[in-house]
Structures are given as structure tokens and as C-alpha cells.
Symmetry: C2
Subunit: 239 residues, 2 copies
């Protein structure tokens, strides 16, 4: 065979192998989410994916590492959808709007039945399979908080918020939003948050966060300047 | 037999029955927490408790109702320990102290390995056994939040906080404190919060809560009165 033919064959093999991997992951995801981690065997994954057991083991060392990859893929997709729509705020009111949008997207995604089921499965197995718990924490709340902290730090650097530790502030906002609905959902499989409840819940979380982290010194400084005539009141637009 | 003898016999029987119930609950708790809900059978509970299987079924209709009673008993004990030490604050600073103490007790109790294991077990089974999830939510976060809301409402009524919905405020405080450590612990069985981290974490939660709910109008009114001479500054002690 020529080099070109070799390349083409290698590419086809790689493509087939990737396709098989994708099929195995999809089958495993479906089985884990409906039958649980214990209730699913590698044999069943192979049958469901229409491949041999050996093919499954060629791609994944064991059931836990297969599940870890599913957790990573599901959380990565979720994170992408949350981060996509962030804009750069110019005022405190716009910070509140960005936070609301971020919370709305995060909560909607985290509360989908599929991700709640994944969360429940992983919590159930986290002591026996620490790598599962780590994958979900790192790809889920861990990443969400770290991403938000980057934004919060930038808003603080631009004088929109008064923040001493952006990770702490992001963590607090995350749980102000997620704490109650996610935990309700963990304990009550039939828990549903209506759109109106979600909107109200997020408004309340944003209000608390802004009250705690608005730039009081900036406002105080500006107020003093207004008082001493260094700044005219109508020019002071701190939305 | 005389009536007195009858009474005594009944009492002894009742005492024996109560004693057996207690022994069964203790055995079941130990087995569930070490082997899981699925990994424990009613037979094993009977053997571990040294009673017949029939005796177990005389007391508990099925495994789920046995587990529900364990969940209720463990959460009730935990709630009692959290509520025990609340004092009545006179200033905002004292409100902060009470909240810190409450958070410290709650977090310490919720983070004990036994209660974390219970939480994980219940989450794992909550979709198949909704009564388990309900028992843990109602006896755990649900009760903790409702109890705290009663205190927050009273502090608001006494003009120490500015609260429009005490349940919302209590829920927010609960998850500012519990959200990150409890979720870390759910996903990482080896997660430990050091005493220093716990103290710092609680300080940050209390700071956010107080910033959001301190009586700004009261302070503003007092400041205005000070300015207009209706109140002398040194008399204004709003700690």
C-alpha cells in the first residue's frame, strides 16, 4: 500500500473506532441512567451498543472509567450551555442582569431530569468509586463556580463589585441559587420548580448577592464628592 | 390476676416490646449505614438484633418503613442539638453571633460521617422510595430552615433585621452555610473541613446574610434623626 492508502486506512480505522466509542458511551449512558450503576454490566453495555465485550474493554478499562467519561461529557456539555451567553456589564444593574441570566441557565440545566439522575447515581457511588464523585464535582459545581469567579473577579477589577475573594463570592452565589432546588430534587424525585418560582428564587439570590458585594466605598466616595461639590449630582449615574 | 398484676404485666410487655423495637432500630441503623439499603435484608436485621424475623415484621411493615424511622430518629436528634443553644439577641451584632453559633452547630452535625452516609443512602434510594427522601428532607433541611425562619421572623419583628419573607431568608442562610461543604462531602467521601476553614466559611456566610438583611431603613432613619438633631449621635448605638 502507498503512504496515502495507509493514511486513508488509518483514518477510516480511527473513524470507526471513534464511532464505536461514541455508540458505547451512548448505550452506557442510557443504561446507567435507567438501571443504575450497579444494575448495569459491561456485558449489557456491549449488547445494547451492538459490539463485542472485548471492544468495550478495548475502549474502557472498567465500568467506573466508562461512567467517569459519561459524567465528564454530560457536565462539559452543561457547562458550555451555561457559559455561552455571558455579556460584559457596564453598571451594577447590568451585573445583576448577567447574574440572573447565568443563574437561570445554570438552574434550568442542572434541574433537567437526566442531570438530576446522574447526580443521584454519582452520590450513591461516590464512596466506593471516588473518581466518579471527583468527575462530577470538578465538571459540575467545581467548574461552574470557577468560571463564575473569573467573571466576578473581572467585574470587581472594573469597580463594579467589591470583592475580597472571588471564589468565595462565586461559591456563595452558586449555592444561593442551587442549594434549595437541587437538594429538594435530590430528596424528592417528583420535585418541580415552576418558571414563576424559579424567577422569584433567582431574583432573591441576586438581591442578596448584590447587597453583600456592591461597591459601598465607591458609592460612599461618590456621595462625599457630590456633597463637597467635586461631583455634580446629575452626573452620578451608579445604576 | 388482679388489675394491678394485669397492669404490671402489660407494662412489662410494653417495656419488652419497646426494648426490642429499640434493638431492631439500632441493628438496622448499623447495617444500613455499613452495607447500604440494598445490601441489607430484614433477615439480617433480625439476626443482628437477636430476634425472630416475625418480631421485626411485627414492628415494621417493610424495610423502607424501618429505614424511614431511622431517618426520622437520626434527623430529630440532630435538630435537637442545633436548636438547643439559641439565645435572644438585642443588637445586630448579637444576631450575627447567634447565626454563627447556629451555623457552627448545624454544620458540625450535618458533616458527621454517619449523617453524611445517611444522606448519601437516602439520595440513592429517593426515586424508588419517595417516603425515605421525604423523611430526610422534612427532618433535615426542611426542619432546620423552618426552625431558623421562626427565629429570623422574631428578630425582624423586633426591628433587628429587615425581612420580607423569613422562610426565604432562612433558606438562603441555610445554603450559604451548607451548600458547598455538604455537596463537596457528597461527591468526595474523603472531604474534610478543618476547624479554621469552617470558622472562615461561616463568617463569610453571616457577613453576606447581614449585609442583605440589616435594617437599612432603620439605620437611615436614625442617621437622618442624628443629622436633624432629633437624636444625639452618642446615643445611637446600632451595633
Amino acid at each position: 500500500m502507498s503512504d496515502m492508502q495507509n493514511d486513508a486506512t488509518a483514518q477510516t480505522n480511527f473513524g470507526r473506532s471513534e464511532q464505536k466509542r461514541h455508540t458505547i458511551l451512548q448505550s452506557a449512558e442510557e443504561l446507567f441512567l435507567t438501571r443504575g450503576f450497579n444494575g448495569t454490566s459491561m456485558d449489557e453495555v456491549a449488547v445494547h451498543a451492538g459490539v463485542s465485550k472485548q471492544t468495550v474493554y478495548n475502549q474502557f478499562a472498567n465500568k467506573a472509567s466508562l461512567f467517569v467519561e459519561i459524567v465528564q461529557s454530560m457536565t462539559a456539555q452543561a457547562a458550555k450551555r451555561v457559559q455561552a451567553e455571558m455579556r460584559e456589564p457596564e453598571t451594577l444593574a447590568q451585573v445583576a442582569t448577567e447574574l440572573s441570566g447565568h443563574a437561570e441557565r445554570s438552574l434550568t440545566i442542572v434541574m433537567t431530569p437526566k442531570l438530576l439522575r446522574l447526580r443521584r447515581l454519582v452520590i450513591a457511588e461516590a464512596d466506593r468509586f471516588p473518581e466518579l464523585g471527583r468527575a462530577l464535582y470538578d465538571g459540575g459545581p467545581g467548574r461552574a463556580i470557577a468560571d463564575l469567579a473569573v467573571n466576578i473577579q473581572r467585574w470587581a477589577d472594573r469597580g463594579l463589585l467589591s470583592i475580597s475573594d472571588a471564589m468565595v463570592a462565586a461559591t456563595q452565589f452558586n449555592w444561593l441559587v442551587m442549594g434549595e432546588p437541587v437538594n429538594q430534587a435530590m430528596f424528592r424525585a417528583d420535585f418541580v420548580l415552576s418558571k414563576a418560582e424559579r424567577v422569584r428564587h433567582i431574583q432573591q439570590a441576586v438581591r442578596v448577592f448584590i447587597a453583600a458585594y456592591e461597591c459601598k466605598t465607591k458609592r460612599a466616595t461618590m456621595n462625599r464628592k457630590i456633597k463637597t461639590g467635586q461631583l455634580r449630582k446629575r452626573k452620578f449615574t451608579y445604576a
